[in-house]
Symmetry: C2
Subunit: 437 residues, 2 copies
């Protein structure tokens, strides 16, 4: 395929993607396929000779789409949102076209420098303390990771390296293994200091945890993977109070800030804590600017060596939505979750199971876990909407997360009427069954 054919096929693909997203509400949100469905549909091995674009293209609807869970359907209420927006898709096309690998400043200066500045923009939007921003002369700064798990792992490794070095300087008689065996990582049952946990979107008390960590010389990492995007709204910013005690902070614009996966934003107060743990300097990656101290080589901030030009997505989305556009998006989702909460609370057969702070409602039928498992089963099997459960203090709970960019009040009403009807049907058979027993 040459550039001329790419122009033609690329435009067809743009239309396909636009059609897909425009009419996604017409597709069944959760697929019908059974495990192993795909293998029999395609050949055993790669073709020797090239196939045409048409051949591949027609297989998208035939082979791929029947097995897709449609995360951007307005009937998708599972997990947490996966961000998606047209500006981000455009930026990703550009990112692919440029196709640079930005492991060092010299490997593509724009890739590194735009990332540093975008993380400053984003940090300012959530009013992060200035120590976390790169600015012009700071010790801190931000980086894009692939996921919150990577940010947590990197914090753990950096904290470990830092602590081992400190203890070794105090007690040179100890080996690294001696020290390793005594290191402790503190976490709750949702891990590290978290703002907006996955099961129920609860918030750890940073203002209590923070001073203890600082006093005891404990690295504090805060994970706000989902909730972090909400802090761009002044009315939610108080949830981040206490971040000033942290060593590292992370949230995922790829969850709730309309930046397509992957874009996990991480900040540290001291970038030397990361580069001290991960620095790697083979000659083929050195360049004459690095000794000046003026440049950032992001490979020292992460596990992989290679990295894509992901800050383009942030740049496109922040500019084409503006802060107010993104605030509207967050506020709409929070409004819709309260709408759903309200519907649940009006039905005395149901209860909510955690405070609704942002875009997640945890709810259940009053009654046994078995009853609620049966309700989820009937929701899952009907495939009109899609949601997943969680456990909260031994209770089996249904999670209703506001996910799609295009979800509206009508979809929430539909979802509730559907759940409510399934509950009515279920309770009828359930009572008959228990009556017979």
């Amino acid at each position: 395929m040459d550039a001329a054919e790419f122009r033609k096929r690329g435009k067809e693909m743009v239309d396909y993607v636009a059609d897909y997203l425009e009419k996604i509400d017409k597709r069944q949100v959760f697929p019908d396929v059974e495990p192993g469905y795909l293998r029999p549909l395609i050949p055993d091995c790669a073709p020797q000779d090239p196939e045409s674009f048409e051949d591949v293209f027609k297989d998208i609807e035939k082979i791929i789409m029947p097995g897709v869970t449609h995360w951007h359907s307005p009937y998708f209420f599972a997990y947490f949102p996966a961000a998606s927006s047209f500006p981000a898709l455009l930026a990703d096309m550009l990112c692919g076209g440029i196709g640079c690998v930005g492991f060092s400043w010299a490997a593509s200066p724009a890739c590194t420098e735009l990332e540093t500045v975008m993380l400053d923009w984003l940090g300012k939007m959530i009013n992060l303390p200035e120590e976390f921003l790169a600015g012009k002369h700071s010790q801190g700064g931000g980086v894009i990771q692939g996921s919150a798990s990577e940010a947590t792992l990197i914090s753990l490794l950096a904290a470990r390296t830092k602590t081992i070095r400190r203890v070794q300087s105090e007690k040179p008689e100890l080996t690294e293994a001696d020290i390793m065996g005594r290191l402790v990582a503190y976490a709750s049952d949702q891990f590290c200091a978290t703002l907006g946990t996955t099961p129920c979107c609860s918030f750890d008390k940073l203002l209590e945890l923070g001073p203890i960590c600082n006093k005891e010389n404990i690295w504090m990492h805060i994970d706000a993977a989902y909730a972090g995007s909400a802090f761009i709204c002044p009315e939610f910013r108080h949830l981040l109070n206490g971040v000033e005690f942290a060593d590292s902070f992370n949230f995922n614009p790829h969850k709730w800030l309309l930046v397509n996966f992957d874009c996990s934003a991480m900040w540290v107060k001291k970038r030397s804590d990361l580069t001290g743990a991960f620095k790697l300097e083979p000659l083929y990656l050195q360049h004459h600017h690095q000794e000046s101290g003026l440049v950032t080589d992001y490979r020292h901030w992460q596990i992989p060596l290679g990295r894509r030009f992901r800050s383009l997505k942030l740049w496109f989305v922040l500019r084409m939505y503006g802060v107010t556009g993104l605030q509207e998006h967050i506020r709409k989702h929070v409004r819709l979750s309260h709408q759903f909460e309200h519907l649940v609370l009006q039905d005395e057969r149901f209860e909510t199971c955690a405070e609704v702070v942002l875009g997640l409602v945890c709810f259940r039928l009053k009654g046994s876990n078995e009853l609620n498992k049966a309700l989820l089963k009937s929701i899952t099997e009907a495939k009109k909407i899609h949601l997943v459960p969680c456990h909260l203090r031994e209770k089996f709970v249904l999670r209703f997360a506001i996910c799609s960019r295009t979800v509206e009040s009508t979809h929430i009403k539909f979802a509730w009427q559907h759940i409510s009807q399934l509950a009515t049907d279920l309770l009828k058979t359930w009572e008959q069954k228990h009556h017979q027993q």
Copy 2:
């Protein structure tokens, strides 16, 4: 931006990317900018109100392109290739449009199943032993990681978990920390068993290493990040002999197989070695198929939780190039590296420094390291071509890597004439300087 505007802007972006790649040889391969160039060009913080696409679009040439190192220029001979092709770009557009997060089978069955089958296709193309393929009833299988570093880290962690468990079952009196302190990872100065090292593309002797690892119960991980793609050509497959002794194997189609970054292919003989180390089962990620043993939940195979639909890129590229098309690509690059080697060897001022096996030529001026540093400096400053150095046994060496998909014999000749002329100029001043001293 709505779907209608995306149709318009998406098509403009397709044309921009096509233009960029079609005329990339007209751009200076390495940028002129100095560290910190970008920050003064853009505002201090994100705009409150949305900006138009036109505003953002015109800044691409104004702000981004002046700081881009053009990895796909036919004058780019640095590092190793970053793969890029039009079918991969099309697949990435589709991947972004679908925008699913495939951490479990249920989160998007097509995403998981296509990946498993594509890794089987790819494994068959390089004639991997059947134990590494998922097939229908195997214990092994493949997964797409983001980078070879992640594949290596995952192998290390899986090996560590496996070894600790084995030792603990043999000697229950030992703590995990006791065992950790005694674990040993063996590596050369290029790390783990490597096929095609980065400095000089050398090959470890798997047929010697493998049996020792197996006898001593040592996990053997083979990293063929760059070289692996070449094994699709029968004439290079012998370099992989001995892989049958390995526990895990990895190579990067995103380097040399025309699949845009990121797509790092990793296979294991026993998938339970990975899932045993990384398994994570909160209720919100469970689904009713997982207990059947029929499904793969790739989150257990990797560090991050989330994952994109990267197998689409493999599917598009393998089908639209066919095996023969990809073999032609590899063979062209190897032919061009031998052309360059031949030019170097014809000039008695120069020497090559390692056997040219695939697409990399290591060469230098006969003489001191300082002389060769001066040559590299003049190449870097002229900015007609771009390459990076390496150290081989104390010697400062220039690496000439065949990188671009569109590089041809004329570019190689141009590069050599340019280097040769710079050497002539340099040697003149160098001799004068040394004469004066």
